[in-house]
Structures are given as structure tokens and as C-alpha cells.
Symmetry: C4
Subunit: 458 residues, 4 copies
């Protein structure tokens, strides 16, 4: 219903989505490269410099684009497409940081006479990591992707990123010591077997980076072998901060894991219930046959727990109705009891029934009880069994298959159920409760008469 202003882009626009993913890749690159540049480079080599310029240019375009993208108001849930409002909202939020991030700080550093303070401004670019965070949040809400995996992946990425940043700072701390004192840094004083790092500036970049990262990870995971360790006061202070943050981060990781697991395990609930029941049955010396039936039933329940219709209860009634009709209308229409009823009536009945499963051997209705439910078979087979004259011998009376109903005499006439109904083959049925049936009948009297006729004929 909502038309957008001219030149304003809808946030769900397909082209804009592609642009956002393009910028996301640049944001990942920038988040990763910024600490590296800060730690290991004083003035970039030419090829990296050109790559960096390209990235900053892409972010500049993104700033412009943002002034033309409509947004959804958080209070009224409507799309706001007024250009002034869009601009105001963006300027108030992240505009300044975004703009400052696009400045070519490396070039400014070279021009300003290699002033160390300028290099600290590089960290503004880390605000781009927010985009990656937002992406993860969207991923978590996307139900097509496994949640547990997404969550663990996210925590893992955060930890690796912290380690990467720490590694870059470790190296930075060593390089800002006066060259004369370089033996008095963690890397300058390091010896690995016979290999010495005393002239570490001349070592391969890859080797220096791996060593720093190794130090950071071994500290982060609290392994702390100790062959690499802080040497001067500055390094001690940084390690103290790093280790404190790690403790919080590690606790967060653990807490998340625990939360995911506490919530999760259906197997456990199944087992708990099972174990309690078995204890109870044993204590009271219950028959083994009954124990077996109970176990079978619980196992079936457990396996079906994911397809249960019970989870429909939170969705609006009108949608629920449609689903039920889709699934059960054919079975209701097929039942001889409802032969000749109006389409509207059949639809209403189909909307009110509930699905149930029964295992072979289970008794659905017992002889002599007044039943409040009517059952129709969806698939499987049941058997009517009754004690005819004597109290002792039970005889099989009839077998019922798909679309047959049972319990209807007791259900409609309020009399005791004449026969026990027992399952022969694994059986899916739909159940209609008396209360619902009465309410539906209250509106359409003619169908009531048809049903009574069907009962008398059947």
C-alpha cells in the first residue's frame, strides 16, 4: 500500500541488497586489515595502498547511498520514505564516524611527517565491524540456517578477531621501543630452540605475524606455555588488560554454550520421563506387558514430537483453521457419518479436529464408558472387541480402516460404549470433542438431522 518518494530506495530492494552484501565484504576486509596495518605497517607498500584506496572509495559511495534508503519506523512499523527524515536519522546516528573512516589515514600519516598520533585515527575504521555484527544478527533470525551452528560460529569469529587484534598490538608494542632496547621486548628476547628473534624487524612478515598470533592465542586460551611472555612494564599492562577482557569473553562463551545446551535436549526429557516411570512400575510390581506398552507409547511420542500439531496454538485462529481444513477435510468428508452434509459444515468440523497416533495393541475406547470424543481413522486399522454374553471371553466384532469413524453411538446418544476399540496396525486418527461438535451443530440444524439419519442407517 505504501508508495515511496522519488529516488528513495525501499530497504528490501533487490539491487540494494546486492550492494549491502558487496559492502559487507569490504567491511570484513577492513575490520581485519585495520589492526594489521596499525601493528605491522608504517606506510603501506604500493599494492596494498591501492587496495586500501579502492575500499575507502566503496565506503564513500555507501555513505551517499544511505541518504536515499527508506527505513521502517520502530514504533508504528511503517516505512518512512521522506528524504529529510532519512537524512536526519542517518546524520544523527553513524554519519560522522562513517565519513571519518573514509579518510586515507595512511597517506595523511606519510604527509604529516610520520607523526605517530595520526596512526591512532585508523581505529575509527573499526566502526565498520558493526555491519558484520548486524549481518550476524540477521543470520540468527533466519530460520533456514541452523541456530546452534550460527551462534557458535559467531562466538568463534569474535574470539579469533580479538586474538588477531591483540597479536597486532603485541607487535606494535615491540616496535615502538627505541631500537637500542629491542632486546628488552617480548619478541626481541625470544628464542625458539636454536632460533633467535633478536633482529626481529628483518624476519619474514608471515613468521612475525604467526608468532604474535600464537602468543595471543596461547594467552587467550589460558594455556600460557611461558616460552613467550611479557618483558617490560608496557607489555605487562597490556597483557593484564587483555587477560581481564578474555576472562569476561570466555565466561560469555561458556555461558552461551550452557544456555544452548540447557534448553536443547529433547532426548533427556524423554529419558527422564521414561526412567521415572520404570522406577514406579518396578516398585509397584506392575505387569511386564504394561511396561512394554508404556515404553512403546513414549518412544512414539518422542519421535513424533517435531511434527506435533500442538505448536500451532500460537498462530492466529484464522490461519490455524486453514491448515486444519487442508489436512483433515478429506477424512471428514469420507466418513459415512457425515455423508451428505453441507460443505460449510464439513469445513467447520475439519477445522476443529485434533490429530493423534496410536500403537498396535493400545485400547482407544473401553467398553462401558461414556465417551466424549468421536474418532475418524486417517491411516492404519482398528478392531472392535466385545464381551458378548459372558464376562470373560472377548470376541473380535469388526475391523475398521481408513475414513471409518468409531465411538459415534456413545458420542451422539450419551450411552455407554458398546465395544472396546483396539488398534491393530499403527494408526493415525483425528479426534472431535463433544463441546466443539455441539457448538457447530447449534448453527446448522439441517446437518444435525442428516447425521442422525446416517447413524440410524449405519
Amino acid at each position: 500500500g505504501s508508495r515511496l518518494q522519488r529516488f528513495v530506495i525501499h530497504p528490501d530492494n533487490w539491487w540494494y541488497m546486492i550492494w549491502r552484501h558487496f559492502i559487507l565484504i569490504w567491511a570484513v576486509y577492513s575490520s581485519f586489515f585495520t589492526p594489521l596495518e596499525f601493528g605491522f605497517f608504517r606506510g603501506l607498500p604500493e599494492n596494498l595502498f591501492l587496495l586500501d584506496i579502492a575500499g575507502q572509495f566503496a565506503f564513500l559511495i555507501d555513505i551517499v547511498v544511505r541518504f536515499f534508503v527508506a527505513y521502517r519506523d520502530s514504533h508504528s512499523y511503517r516505512i518512512v520514505s521522506n528524504r529529510n527524515l532519512i537524512a536526519l536519522r542517518y546524520i544523527k546516528s553513524r554519519f560522522v564516524l562513517d565519513l571519518l573512516g573514509c579518510f586515507p589515514w595512511d597517506a595523511i600519516f606519510k604527509v604529516s611527517g610520520r607523526h605517530e598520533l595520526v596512526r591512532y585515527l585508523l581505529w575509527i575504521r573499526l566502526s565498520r565491524a558493526l555491519r558484520v555484527t548486524e549481518f550476524f544478527e540477521k543470520l540468527e533470525k533466519d530460520i533456514r540456517i541452523n541456530y546452534l551452528a550460527t551462534r557458535i560460529l559467531k562466538l568463534f569469529v569474535v574470539e579469533l578477531y580479538c586474538t588477531h587484534t591483540a597479536a597486532c598490538i603485541f607487535y606494535y608494542l615491540a616496535t615502538t621501543v627505541p631500537p637500542a632496547n629491542e632486546g628488552y621486548t617480548w619478541i626481541g628476547s625470544l628464542k625458539m630452540g636454536d632460533y633467535t628473534y633478536s633482529h626481529f624487524r628483518e624476519i619474514d612478515l608471515w613468521k612475525r605475524y604467526v608468532t604474535s598470533l600464537y602468543f595471543a592465542i596461547v594467552t587467550m586460551a589460558t594455556v600460557g606455555y611461558g616460552e613467550i611472555h611479557a618483558v617490560n612494564v608496557r607489555e605487562m599492562i597490556f597483557i593484564m588488560i587483555y587477560v581481564s577482557v578474555d576472562m569476561i569473553l570466555g565466561a560469555y562463551l561458556l555461558g552461551n554454550m550452557a544456555a544452548l545446551i540447557v534448553k536443547g535436549s529433547k532426548t533427556e526429557k524423554f529419558r527422564d520421563k521414561m526412567a521415572e516411570l520404570i522406577t514406579y512400575l518396578k516398585k509397584n510390581n506392575i505387569d511386564r506387558q504394561i511396561s512394554k506398552e508404556i515404553k512403546g507409547h513414549l518412544r512414539l511420542q518422542y519421535e513424533r514430537s517435531k511434527t506435533e500439531g500442538a505448536l500451532l496454538q500460537d498462530i492466529p485462529a484464522s490461519i490455524r483453521t486453514k491448515i486444519s481444513q487442508n489436512l483433515y477435510e478429506q477424512h471428514v468428508k469420507g466418513a459415512s457419518l457425515f455423508k451428505g452434509c453441507s460443505e460449510g459444515f464439513i469445513k467447520q468440523i475439519a477445522a476443529e479436529v485434533h490429530e493423534e497416533f496410536f500403537l498396535p495393541g493400545e485400547v482407544i475406547i473401553e467398553q462401558g464408558k461414556v465417551v466424549d470424543q468421536l474418532y475418524i481413522i486417517c491411516h492404519g486399522e482398528v478392531e472392535e472387541v466385545g464381551k458378548v454374553d459372558d464376562d470373560e471371553t472377548e470376541e473380535s466384532i469388526m475391523r475398521l480402516q481408513v475414513n471409518k469413524s468409531f465411538g459415534e453411538v456413545s458420542f451422539l446418544c450419551n450411552t455407554p460404549q458398546p465395544y472396546t476399540v483396539q488398534v491393530v496396525d499403527l494408526c493415525r486418527v483425528v479426534r472431535l470433542d463433544k463441546q466443539c461438535f455441539k457448538e457447530i451443530l447449534g448453527i446448522s440444524f439441517s446437518d444435525g438431522r442428516i447425521i442422525l439419519n446416517n447413524l440410524l442407517e449405519g
Copy 2:
């Protein structure tokens, strides 16, 4: 209602609040400085000595003030302002500790011939840390501040404080060894790269403190590089105690994190429900259109979960009534069905309605059902759709906007709803249940007649 005795200060008095915050700052300072003094100073230098005297004087004044502050009795929740009761309560609780803490132990130490035992009495001052604890407890109950942040901050502060104290004790242990054996302490035997700590008493205070703290934190976080470690038996024993306490503390930190996270994540619940539904729909080959509607509905529910009126149920009925009237009275008054009704009646209706949201395309009431709810639109638009003659073609009959009601014919006359009501534009409505309506009508008959007239006219 409650008058205070003369010279007695109410605990919520503004001036007293300022004084408490002033003392809080001194308590923070004292808690931090006491271990430092114990570990690193034998007799304070003059400037620190004066600062310390000022602090002790402030605490002395606070002791006097406490005799004049009323308190709230924990059983009857009344303010007690009797001076004798106040004094009795304070003397019974913390008076002695507070008083002993104010003694100038440093001066006594100097005077008493630098007797080592006197210095242990410094620790009495740690009882002041209780004030900081109380402050954090108050902070946790203050809902203006983010709870998670407060909690983590508190845990973090506790950990840092433990580490600080341990660092001071580490240094203390080294200094109390006879000078000849100083090479046989953790700091005296320490070498960092080429730097040796063998004459550690002559090193800069800052450097000594950072080294101690680094040792304490690296141990606390179980990193344990090992370049610094216990050397003599006394140090081993202290580290054993410290490490054991740390394990408990670390477990407490982790447990808290886990608890905060287990409780928290609404995103997860949303995702779980969503994922289960999708599985169910797929298994049963439900229409894609219905799937889409369900997803839309759940997403809306999730976003609105913070503004749900359901959370009002725990507050007293009288307050809840006022809030409802505030929010909904205008819409009830605006509905043509209630035109001319008495103010009291309108107010009672407004107190009983419930708010609901619907997405475009959802069906609120279906044709042919008897409805038990009356709806009034707050904002948005709905459409009445009906099958007129034929069973197949549906026609739009009327569009309803703000303050229109629908469902009233079926609601009042107990007949099937003549038309389906479907949402056109995102729609906020209030719902009135039949049971409530009947009860309200039971008191004011005249309004019932007015409503029926309105219905016949409408």
C-alpha cells in the same frame, strides 16, 4: 504521615544522600589504599599521610552522623525515628569496627617502635568495602541502569580488587624475608630478558607494583606463564590459598554469566517456535502462502513483545484500570455503538478491553461463526468481505477505519457473523470479551438500551 523526632535525619533526606556519596568515595579510596599501604609502605611519606588523616576524619564524622539517621523497620516497613532505638541498632551492628577503622594505625606503628603486628590491624579498614557492596546492591535494583552491565561490572570490580590485594600480599611476603635471603623470593630471583630484580627494593614503586599485579592477574586467569613463580614455602602456601579462592570466584563469575544468558534470549525463543512451525508445515505440504502469513505474524509478535500489555497483570487492579482508561477511553467513546452512553459506563468498558495487532491480509472474523468478541479499530483499516449469493465469489462490502467497531451484530444478537472481516492496512484494535460486557451491563441497564438503539440505527 510520619513526623520525625528533633535532630533526626530521614534516610531519604537530600543532604544526607550527598554525604553518603561523599563517604562512598572515601570508602572506595580506603578499600583500595589499605592493601597497598600494608604491602608497600612501612610508615607513609608525608603527603600520603596527610591524605590518610583527612580520610579517617571523614569517617569519624560519619560515625557521629549515623546516630541521628532514622531507619525503616524490616518487619512493619515503618520509619523508626526514636534516637535510643537508632543508637542501639548502630552499636549492635557496625559501630565497633567503624571506630577501630578510624584509628591512625600508621602513626601508632611508628610510635610503637615499628612493631610488625600493629600493621595487621590496618585490615580492619576493609570493613568499609561493605559500603561499596551496598552501593552495588542499590545499583542492581535501580532499573534505569542496564542490569547486565551492572552485574558484569560488579564481578569485574571484585576480581580486580582481589587481584590488587593479592599483588600487595605477594610483595609483602618478599619484603618480610631477611635481606640476606632476598634472592630466595619470587621477585628477588626474577629476571625479565636482561633485566634483573635482585635489588628490588631500589626499583621504582610503579614498576614493583605492576610486576606484582601482573603476577597476580596471570595466576588468577590461570595463564601462569611461569617466568614468575613461587620460590619459598611461604609463597607456595599463599599461592595455594589464592588459587583455591580464584577457582571458586571464577566459577561464580561463569555461573553468573551463564545465568544471565540462559534467562535472556528472546531471539532464541522466537527462532525456536519459527523453526518448529516451518518443519511442521513442510512435513504436511502446507501452501506457501499460509507459511508466509504465519512467518509475518510471528515476526510482528516478536517485535511487539516488549510493549505487550500482558505484563500489567501483576500490578494491582486499581492501577491497571487507570492505565487502560488512559489508553483506550477515546476509542470506546468514539465508537458509534457507544454514542450517548454514560461516562461511567464508557470508563468501565475502557478498563476491560485488550489490545491486539493484525497484519495486512489476516482474517479477524470469519463469516458464519458466532463471535464472542467485539472489536474497535485504534489505527489501520479493515474490510468486510462476503459471499453474497453464490458460494464461490467473494465481494468487498465495506471498509472500516479508526474508531469503527465490527462484529457487533453477532456479538449482541448471538447470530452467525454476516461477513468475513479482513485486514487491509496494519491494524491495532481493542477487543471486548462478551463475559465482561455482560457483567458491566448487569449494573447499568439504561446504557444497554442506548446501545441497542445505536445498533438498530447503525
Copy 3:
């Protein structure tokens, strides 16, 4: 009911079960030996080679067997015994991996001129670990085995296996360095006391393996003594990966533990309720006698919580009925109130009663109240106590033992209970609720008359 096709094996067939357990042992062996072979052997010695060939042959047979084993369809829960469907399902799932795993890679390695890449194909065999995983999953569902123990055992095995694999890779990394640089590996540069590992290839296999495993475990548990540590870049990279995986694994272990414990402790719930009650009673100065009674009652409840009939509520009604009849029919039949009633009626009553326990001194029914429950004693003894003329003195009127009922006059005639009923000796009773009783009477009128006669006679 389901007949299998010719030559098709039912998945629950006894011989097939034995075969699966036989293959399981080979899978355990293969999962353990594959990393060891990869790390420590370049071409197996003859005895190990023959063992390996035997294992691969067993797996080959298993591949053939799998084409003849029926499976249970996950949607309809029926056994599928069509040979084409079975084959299709197996080929789609694991067939290729299983087949490749059976190739004699060690022989191929020797034949191919000891090409290093061929050895990497050994890892295909790890897919056999899946069988072990499946075994553990089945174990978890088996309620005869303690769940907590199974779960912890599984986590423990997974951790040990990871460590074992890591140990093999550690050694592999050292052996693939050119012999000249072997001093520049973790094991080549290692010294333990006076013992040096510089010519590590000549050391006993057992000693090499234990040293590797020790390194892996000390790292995994984040102890990280540091006497063994990474030396070259390749080792650093592997340790970084290993440590990161460990962090996730460790968090998973902890999370599982927490989940198991959070769920578990009944003692706690008992204590919580108890403590709250005691606080309440103290605050309100309640009599000590009452406090004692409450404590006794709660303790009894706690001890019986495992045998409570309440856990029967999730099983199907028909099974629940059988259990109740089994347990309580004799007591109902034995009550003089039901003397002469029809068997069917007795059975229905027995199906509806609930079990309860009472401690000596507790009052079950109070004089003057209209009761809605009828009680029958299963074991123990109660006493009828009443105030006869005066309001003050209470007299014991009658003692009731097994199979006696009480409360029947008030229950049937709707009059106030004439006497207080108090427990003398620890007492197990069954309770019949009025509502259920009325419904059962509604069907069998004749039994109603018999009961009234019994009441008048009694």
C-alpha cells in the same frame, strides 16, 4: 503384520545385532589406530599389517550386508523391505565413503613409491567413528543405564580421542621436517631433566607416544607447563587450531555438565520450600508443634517423590487405567461400603482413585466440614476423634485399619463430617473424588442402590 521380502534382514534380527556389535569393535579399533598409523608408521610392520587387512575385510563384508537390511521409514514409521529402496538409500548415504575406507592404503603407499599424499587418504577411515557415535546415541536412549554416567563417559571419550589424534599429528609434524632441522622441532629440542630427545627417532615407540600424548593433554587442559612447546611456524599454526577447537570443546563439556546439574537436584527444591516455610513460620511466631508437623510432611513427600503416581499422567488413559486397577482393586473390593457391587463398577472405581500418604498425628478430615472425598485405607491406622457435648474435650471414638473407608457419610449425604479423622500410624490411603464418583454412578444405577444399603447397614 509386516512380512519382509526374501533375503531381506529385519533391523532387529538377533544375528544382525551380533554382527553390528562385532563391526562396532572393529570401528573402535580402526578409529583409534588410523591416527596412530598416520603419525607413527610409514609402512606397517608385518603383524600390524595382517591385523589391518583383517579389519578392512570385515568392513567389506559389512558393506555387502547393508544391501540386505530393511529400515524404518522416518515419516510413516513403517519397515521398508524393498531391496531397491534399501540399496538406493545406502548408495545415497555412506556407501562411497565406506568403500574407499576399505582400500589398503598402507600397501598402496608402499607400492606408489612412498608418496606422502597417499597417506592422507587414511583419514577416510575416520568416517567409521560414526558407528561409535551412533552406538552412544542408542546408549543414551537406553533407560537401563544411568544417563549422567553415559553422558559424562561420552564427553570423556570424545576428549581423549581428540587428544590422541592431536598427539599423533604433533609427532607427524616433527617427522616431516628435513632430518637436518630436527633440532628445530618441539620434540627434537626437548630436554627432560638430564634426558634429551635430540635423536628422537631412535627412542622407544611407547615413550615417544606418551610424550606426544602428554603434550596434547597438558595443552588441552590449558595447564601448559611450558617445558614442551611449539618451536617452528608449522607447529605454532597447528597449536593455534588445536587450542581453538579445545576452547569450543571445553565449553561444550562445561555446558553439558551445567545442564545436567541445573535440571537435576531434587534435594534443592525440597530444601528451598522447607527454608521458605520455616522463615514464614518464624516471622509469624507459629507454634513449634505445627512447624514440626510441616517438616515431617515435607520430608515424607520428598522421599516418596520418585514413586509418585503423578508421573502417570502422560501415558494413554487405557494403560493408566490398567495400572490403577492392578494396584487398588483389592482395597476397593474390600471396603464394606462397596460390598456386593458389580465387578465392572469396582473396576471403574479402582481406576479413578488416587494414592496419598499421611504421617502419624496429621488430621485428614476435620469435624464440621462437608467433604468431597471418600478415603479407603491401604495400610496404616486412623482414629475418629470427636467433641461430643462440650466444645472443649475431644474423645477418641473408633480406630480404623486396612480396607476401612472414612468420610462416607458426609461424602454421600452432603452433611458436615461428624468426627475428625486423625492418623495413628503411618498411613497409605486411596482417595475418590466426588465428581468421578457421580459420573460412574450415572451409568450403573443398581450399584448406587447397593451402596446406599451398605451405608445404612454400616
Copy 4:
């Protein structure tokens, strides 16, 4: 009720309790000393030897005593005092272990020619630790002691004990190496600063024990400084086992902590509800006055949550009745509405009322509503306020204090409440619901007439 057989001791007998605590102390000593003896002593010195003999003798007496102590059957909860049954039960359970534990293994070791294998039999005595475990279990159920503290203490003791045992085994491993190779053990190769442990057998026992314990704790807490570490293969294997067990134990500790905390925090629940409400109120621009009232109400609820009568619901009805009568009978009797009613009637009313608290300014009943509750004031003061002629001005009509009732006209006559009732001073009231009142009246008609008279007079 239950008489014991001759010479049979009741398990709750006072003397027997003392004996159990005496044996408990010996069990603690024995559990601690057994590993120490195993690790550090080969043949005890005389003073320790005598102490040990005394301990074994005490345990011997305990074995005899056990044959005379009755026990509670776990199925029927009755005391079993039959001597044969007692003996059978003890012999089946722990008798053999208890007896073997009393043998003087140290003496046997000396006699048997100092055969090393005999010393392993010492570990049988660890079965005595079970008594300590049982003691802790009892402690956990004892509600007089803080549960959290007990639980943490227990975990702490278990950890310390594991460490102590490990320390003893560490030393044992070093002593069983041939003297020539002692430089090739963890302690023989150890140097601390300038101090060398090379001739460790000659060092002070205390120093050796502390060093071992330090090694064990530093490993257990995964600090692993690394200055002490495994040297030979046997030590590596033991550390691998120790570290693996530690991981499980540590996870258990953490899990317990998390569980204790997840359950516990009432502050959090209070904060959550508060925060959600405030968000809701802000979003809907609700009056500040109402916000304040809600906050006050919630805070009061929170502070009273421990004294809430709601927790009485799990205890048997008869006990609950007594408590209510104790607390509220005086207020019901004091109300003028119930003047002259029979004692029994007053008691029944007192048993059915519920306690509630209201803050100053809250409205308890609103004018014009039909109320279903009758209130009686326990302490505090309320005010009746009404709009007399006009709709706008409200006037105070009457003030009510202790034992006054309000709402009685509307409650008894089913008419709208004539006046609004508002709290003046913090107010504790009891509430009587209409349904209960009707049921009580149904039995005692005469009291009904008295109440109507009182109403007309009042």
C-alpha cells in the same frame, strides 16, 4: 507406636548420635592420613603408629555397634528392629570393607619384609570417606544451615582432598624410582631460585609435602607455571590421568555454581518485571504519578516475597487451617460484622481469609463496582472517599482503622460499592472471597442471620 527389640538401638537415639559424630571425626582423620601414610611413610614413627592403632580400634567397635542399630525400610518407611534383618543388611552392604579397613596394614608391612604390594591395601581405608559424604548429604538437607555455603564448602573440600591425594601420589612416584635415577624425577630435578631439591629425601617433611601440594594445586587449577613438571614416563602418565579427572571435576564445580545461581536471584526477577513495565509505560506516555504507584507496589511485593502466605499451598490442608486461625482469628472476631457469631463459624472464616498489603494512596475498591471480596484491616488505616452529588468533586467520608471491615454492603447485597476505599497509611488487610463465604454459610444458617442483623445495625 513402634517398640524396638531388646538391645536394639533406635537410629535417632541420642547416645548413638554422639557415637556417630565421634566416628565421623576419626573418618575425617583416616581419610586424610591414609594417602599421606601411603606417600610419605614406609613404616610409621612410634607416636603416629599409636594414634593409628587407636583409630582402627574405634572403627572395630563401630562394626560391632552396627549390628544393633535398627533402620528405616525404604519402601514402607517403617523402622526395622529385627536383629537378623539388621545383620543381614549390614553384611550385604559394607561389612567386609569395614573389617578389612581395620587391619593394621602398617604393622603387616613391616612384618612381611616390607613388601611393597601390602602398602596398596591401605587404600581400603578410603571407604571410610563414605561416612563424610553421608554427613554432607545430611547437612544439605538440614535447613538451618545456609544451603549455598554448604554446597560450595562440599565442592571445595572434595577438590582439596583430590589435590592432597594427588600430592601424596606425586611424592610416592618419585620415591619408588631407584636412588641412582632420582635426578630423573620431578622433585629430584627441581631447582627453586638457588635452592636445589636434588637430595630431596633429606629435606624437612613439611617442605616436601608443601612442594608436592603446590605442584598438585597449580596443576589442578590449570595455572601450570611450569617450574615443576613431569620428567619421566610414569609421571607423565599420572599427570595425564590427574588432569583428565580434574577437567571433569572442574566442570562439575562450575556446573554446580551455575545451577545455584540460575535458580537463585529474586533481585533479577524483580528487576526484569520492573524494567518491562517502565518500558511499557514510557511507550504509551502514561502519567508519572501512576508510574510511581506501580514502582512502590512492586518494591513492597519484592520485600515481602519471603513472608508470603502463598508458600503454604503445598502443606496439608489441616495444618494450613491451623496456621490461618492462629494468625487471623482475632481480627475476624474483632470485626463488628461478625459480632455474636459462633466460635466455630469465626474459626472457619479465619481459615479461609488471605493476607494482602497496600501502600498509601492505593485504591482498594472503586466506587460503582460490584465487589466479590470483603476486607478486614489488620493494621494501618483506610479512607472512604465518594463523589456525592456532582461527578467531579470527591469528598472523604470516613476513616477506618484496625479490625474495621469494608466492602460489606456490596459484598452481601450484590449492589455497586457506594464509596471508593483508599489507603491512608501502610495497610495490612485480610480478604474473604465470596465463594468461600457462601460455602461456610451453607452449613451454619443462624450465623447468617446474625451477620445480616449486624449489617443493618452498622
